[in-house]
Symmetry: C2
Subunit: 340 residues, 2 copies
C-alpha cells in the first residue's frame, strides 16, 4: 500500500488494531478469559469499545511511511508499542489505585489485583510476540534484533521512570524540577521517541537519519507530557468550572513542582497546607491552581512545552523526508496534540 497525497489516520489505526487482534488470536478454551480481559482493556471487546488515541503506533507508522512511502510492513512494530504502552497502563492503574479508565472499571477493579497484574504481564509478553512477525515480513535478523534491543532498553527506562514517580508520590519531599525532567524522559519521552525511532529504523539503514527521528521523538515526548501537565490543571475540565483533576488526585506535575520551588512567603506556606489536605474541597483546588499560577508554574511549564515542541518541529523540518504527506501529518499531529 503506497501513501499518496493524503494519509488516512483512521486506516492506520484500524490496521494497527487488526494487527493487535492477530497477536491476541492465540487463545484456546482454557485461556479465553484472560484474552478477553486484554481486549476489554484495549477497548477491542466490541466495535465501539472506548479506546486510546493510539498515538504511539500512529507516530511510528507515520515515521516509517515518511521514509518508506507505505505503512503496512511496520504494523508489527506499531502493535508492539501499543501493547507495550498498554501493559504499563494496566499496571499503572493498580499502582495509582485508579478504578476507572475511559468511563469503565479498570482491569483490577473488575477482576481483582492478582489477575490484573498477571494480565499486564501477558500484554507485556505479547508485545514482544508482535515484533517477531517482522521476520515473517522479510526484515533481516539484524534489523529485527536491533529493534528488539531498542524496545528492551525502552522498557527498562519506562520502569526506571515509574520507580521515580512512585518513590516521590509517597515521599513528603517534592521531586526537584530537574529530576522531574529526568523522570518524564524515562517514563514518557522514551516510549514516544522509541516508537518514532523504530519507524525510521525499519525504513532505513541511515544511522544519521535514524538519530534525527529519535531526537524529534524525544522532544515531542517531553512536549507531550508538559502539555498534559497543563491540561491536568488548566485544561477544558477546569475552564468549564470543573476542578483541576491532577490537583484533586495529588499529582505533582511540573507546574506544582515549579511553584513549590519558587513560591515565596505566605503563598508558599499556604500551598504546602493545601497540598497536605487529604481530600481538598473544590474551592481549595481552585485556590491551589491560582497559587501555582501566581508562582509562575503555568508560565514556566507552557514555555518549556513550547520550547520542546519547537525543537521537535525544527528536527522535522531538517529531516530528509521522502513523503510530503507523511511530513504534513506529523506536523499536524504535533500542533494538534501540543496545544500549550
Amino acid at each position: 500500500m503506497t501513501v499518496s497525497n493524503d494519509i488516512d489516520l483512521a486506516l492506520l489505526v484500524a490496521d494497527t488494531e487488526a494487527e493487535i487482534l492477530r497477536v491476541l488470536g492465540r487463545e484456546d478454551a482454557a485461556t479465553a478469559g484472560v484474552y478477553e480481559m486484554i481486549r476489554y482493556h484495549l477497548g477491542l471487546d466490541h466495535e465501539d469499545g472506548p479506546r486510546g488515541k493510539r498515538m504511539r503506533p500512529l507516530l511510528g507508522l507515520l515515521a516509517y511511511a515518511s521514509i518508506a512511502g507505505e505503512h503496512a510492513r511496520a504494523l508489527p512494530g506499531a502493535a508492539a508499542v501499543e501493547l507495550g504502552h498498554n501493559f504499563s497502563l494496566v499496571h499503572d492503574d493498580i499502582e495509582d489505585g485508579d478504578s476507572e479508565r475511559r468511563h469503565r472499571p479498570t482491569l483490577w477493579a473488575k477482576h481483582g489485583v492478582p489477575q490484573a497484574i498477571n494480565t499486564g504481564d501477558l500484554v507485556f509478553s505479547l508485545s514482544r510476540i508482535a515484533l517477531h512477525r517482522l521476520s515473517e515480513l522479510g526484515f533481516s535478523d539484524a534489523k529485527v534484533l536491533r529493534l528488539m534491543r531498542l524496545y528492551d532498553e525502552t522498557c527498562v527506562r519506562l520502569c526506571e521512570g515509574q520507580y521515580l514517580d512512585i518513590a516521590f508520590s509517597v515521599s513528603a519531599d517534592p521531586m526537584p524540577v530537574e529530576l522531574y525532567f529526568d523522570m518524564i524522559g524515562r517514563k514518557t519521552a522514551a516510549l514516544i521517541s522509541a516508537s518514532i525511532e523504530a519507524g525510521a529504523l525499519l525504513a532505513t539503514d541511515d544511522d544519521d537519519l535514524i538519530a534525527a527521528y529519535r531526537r524529534f521523538g524525544w522532544a515531542l515526548g517531553i512536549a507531550f507530557q508538559l502539555n498534559d501537565d497543563l491540561l491536568g490543571i488548566w485544561g477544558q475540565e477546569a475552564s468549564t468550572g470543573k476542578v483541576p483533576t491532577d490537583l484533586a488526585r495529588h499529582k505533582k506535575t511540573l507546574p506544582v513542582l515549579y511553584a513549590l520551588e519558587h513560591a515565596t512567603g505566605a503563598a508558599r506556606g499556604r500551598l504546602a497546607v493545601l497540598y497536605a489536605q487529604p481530600d481538598p474541597a473544590d474551592d481549595e483546588l481552585l485556590e491551589m491552581a491560582a497559587l501555582i499560577d501566581r508562582a509562575g508554574g503555568q508560565a514556566f511549564t507552557r514555555a518549556e512545552a513550547r520550547r520542546y515542541r519547537d525543537d521537535a518541529l525544527a528536527e522535522l523540518d531538517a529531516m530528509r523526508i521522502v513523503e510530503p504527506a507523511a511530513r504534513e501529518r506529523l506536523r499536524t499531529i504535533i500542533l494538534g496534540v501540543i496545544t500549550a
Copy 2:
C-alpha cells in the same frame, strides 16, 4: 573454560550470579533504589543473602555444557531465565499475598505493592537485556532471535498458566485434574523446559537434538512440580510434626484435586467442609492430609511424578551427549530434586 571430568555446580551458580550483577550494573544515582530492591529480592544484596537454588540456570548451563563442553558462553541465557523466573516470583508474592520469602519480607511487604509491581516489570525487562549479550559473545543474529522467540513464547505460556491458577484459586469449583496438568505445563514446565532447550539451542544447530532436550525438560518440569506438590503436604515440615503448608495456605495442588474428584461418601463431604474453613486448626489440617491420602491423592501424585521423572531419565539416556560429566550432573540433579 572447558569442563573436565567433573563440573563444579557452585562455580556455575557463582558465574550466573556474576552475569546477573553485570546486567544490573546500569543503575545511576536516580535509580539506585530500584536496583537495590532487585538485588534484595535475588539475595544478592550481601554475600550471604538468602537465595534460590538457581535450578533453571543450572539446568540450562548443564544442557549447554553437555553438548558444547563448556558453560561460559551460555551465561547470558542463564541470567535471563533466572531473572525471568524471579520477575514472576515478585509478582506471584503480591498475587498470593505472601509477605515472606526465604525468611525475609517480600518486596511488596517491604516497599508496598506499587513499587513491587514495577520492580517485577523492571526485572522482566532486564531479563531480555541479558539475552542481548549473546550477540557480543559471537552468537549469530539468527540464533539469538530464535532464542528470544523461545523465551517470549515461554513468558506468554507462564502468564497463561498463572491466569488459570488465579482463576481457580478464587473459584468455588476445584480445577479438574486434567486442567491442572495443563496449568502446571504452562506455569512450571514451560520455563524449566525452555531453560534446557535454550542451552541446547545455543550449543547446536541439530533440531532433533534440540527437540530431545525440550522433551527432557518438559518431563522434568512436570515431575518437579508434582514432587513439590507432595512436599507441600507430606514433606519434611509435615513429617516433623508441623502442619502441611500447602493445605494451611488453601493451595489446591494435585493431591487435593485428585482427592476432591475421587473421595466418596462421608470423606468427600468432610473434605469439602474442612477446605471451606477460612482458618483451619492444626488437627484439621492433619485430618485433611489423611483424607487426601486415603482418597488416593498421594499415591496418584507420586506415581505421576515418578512416571514423568522416568520419562526425563529415558530422554536423557537417549540423547547424544558429548560430555559424560554433564550427563551425570543432570542425572544427579534429577534424582536429587525428584524425591517422590
